[in-house]
């Protein structure tokens, strides 16, 4: 690290270390922040009075098991190709199966980096039905919207999306109101804020009196965000500090928001660990109903069953640390995950598992 950055990191750490008044609990909400915190060993640099818990910012982790069951049922149809982001592949469904196992058993499941690849595949394989597993927050959903708008413009008849898209501000309000957590500050996600703008957290700061700070993804940027939160607590104020101003502008990205709004509308959504949160999900608007895989294909779905003994739900709302789960690192590992938090590299359990040895070193 350069000397200027190192000096800044040291200065930030000593500023944080000077906090002695009372124990504080901050939550980092973004999966990439969770990874960066684990990887940098940042928790070990924080004073004992400062507790940093991980929130529900890993899209795969908060997707309920019933969605995985639905995806598996579609993958079992003979003319369907299921297209998904990679971290969905190993998430177990109710019966312990996964898309990875379904593929090994002959289902056509493809991993992509962008939703746009599903459209390309739909053009290339006209005799197949392409189903895109649309999971993600406001960062990802505008790209899905753009892909579906393009598909509609081109009259593509063999592409659809199985949606479980979610919105962050509504989940944060639920966490902010939680008596279980009693949060003192929220480290808000960088790229969700790029799309939405910093204003979306204003109601949380105002209504719940919880300081908010938007941070970038490098360790030093996260430290800046934490220092901004401590400063707000010390000053007895609760506002939204934008510590990632190069990318996060007032109003966010208007065009991304416009496309999102054209294709999707709010709906109640089920979050693993948090339950149903009103208007925290996005579903396709009626004008795009013909692109909804849930309507296009009729499949029978089992009653969803969460894995036994798994405490993912509590981990996701920051109520327990990953190593407080009896399955952690024993029955549940990244190789043989039982809960979704161990599957995705952004999951709290996977991040804690991957970097546990470094924290001890």
């Amino acid at each position: 690290m350069s000397s200027a950055l190192l000096a800044e990191a040291r200065a930030l750490c000593s500023r944080l270390g000077a906090w002695r008044d009372r124990p504080l609990t901050f939550m980092e909400v973004c999966g990439t922040h969770t990874m960066a915190v684990a990887k940098s060993g940042l928790r070990t640099l924080l004073p004992e009075t400062l507790r940093l818990v991980s929130g529900p910012g890993c899209p795969v982790c908060v997707t309920p098991v019933g969605y995985v069951d639905h995806a598996l049922a579609l993958a079992a149809l003979s003319d369907v190709v299921v297209v998904t982001f990679g971290d969905m592949m190993r998430v177990p469904g109710s019966a312990g199966s996964s898309l990875l196992r379904a593929r090994a058993a002959g289902a056509d499941v493809r991993v992509v980096y962008s939703p746009r690849e599903a459209l390309t595949l739909a053009h290339a394989q006209k005799q197949k039905q392409i189903v895109f597993l649309s999971v993600g927050f406001e960062t990802t959903t505008p790209g899905v919207a753009a892909t579906l708008l393009e598909a509609r413009r081109e009259g593509v008849g063999n592409l659809s999306a199985l949606t479980a898209n979610k919105t962050i501000p509504e989940a944060l309000s639920t966490l902010a109101a939680s008596a279980e957590l009693r949060l003192d500050g929220l480290l808000c996600p960088g790229h969700v804020s790029v799309v939405l703008g910093p204003e979306v957290y204003q109601p949380i700061a105002a209504r719940f009196g919880i300081p908010c700070a938007i941070a970038g993804f490098e360790a030093v940027e996260i430290l800046r965000g934490l220092a901004a939160l401590v400063d707000q607590v010390a000053g007895g104020v609760a506002r939204v500090d934008n510590c990632y101003p190069a990318a996060v502008r007032p109003g966010g990205n208007p065009k991304a928001r416009q496309l999102l709004d054209e294709v999707f509308e709010p709906c109640d959504a089920d979050w693993r660990g948090l339950g149903v949160i009103p208007r925290s999900g996005l579903r396709l608007r009626e004008a795009f109903a013909h692109l909804d895989a849930a309507r296009r294909f009729e499949v029978e779905l089992p009653e969803p069953v969460e894995p036994r003994g798994c405490r993912c739900g509590e981990v996701l709302r920051g109520a327990v640390a990953p190593d407080e789960c009896p399955l952690f690192a024993g029955a549940c590992t990244p190789e043989q995950p039982i809960g979704a938090c161990m599957v995705s590299s952004e999951g709290s359990c996977a991040a804690a598992f991957a970097h546990a040895s470094e924290d001890l070193a």
């Binding site: 790229h191 970038g216 490098e218 990205n253």
Partner: protein, 85 residues
């Protein structure tokens, strides 16, 4: 996952663009490494008026934000130092 590395736009064709990792990129292990000038096709549907020479943040194949060139170069310089030699 969110990758916050600015990419330089080298070609624009309506809603399609080609970006180049300038300076640093993410290695296969998720750590920053020095870039090998990899070019990547991205969609520009989510931004207005992207031009060659602009820097953008890319998420899941779509550019989600344009960055002022000066700030992007500054960010890249910091990330390059983090990548080390």
């Amino acid at each position: 996952m969110c990758v916050a590395i600015p990419m330089e736009v080298v070609r624009v064709d309506a809603s399609r663009g080609v970006v180049r990792s300038a300076g640093v990129e993410l290695g296969s292990d998720g750590n920053l490494v020095h870039a090998s000038n990899v070019e990547l096709e991205v969609r520009l549907d989510l931004l207005e008026d992207v031009r060659v020479g602009d820097y953008v943040i890319v998420h899941a194949g779509y550019a989600i934000q344009a960055l002022p060139a000066a700030e992007a170069r500054e960010t890249l310089a910091v990330l390059e130092r983090l990548a080390g030699r």
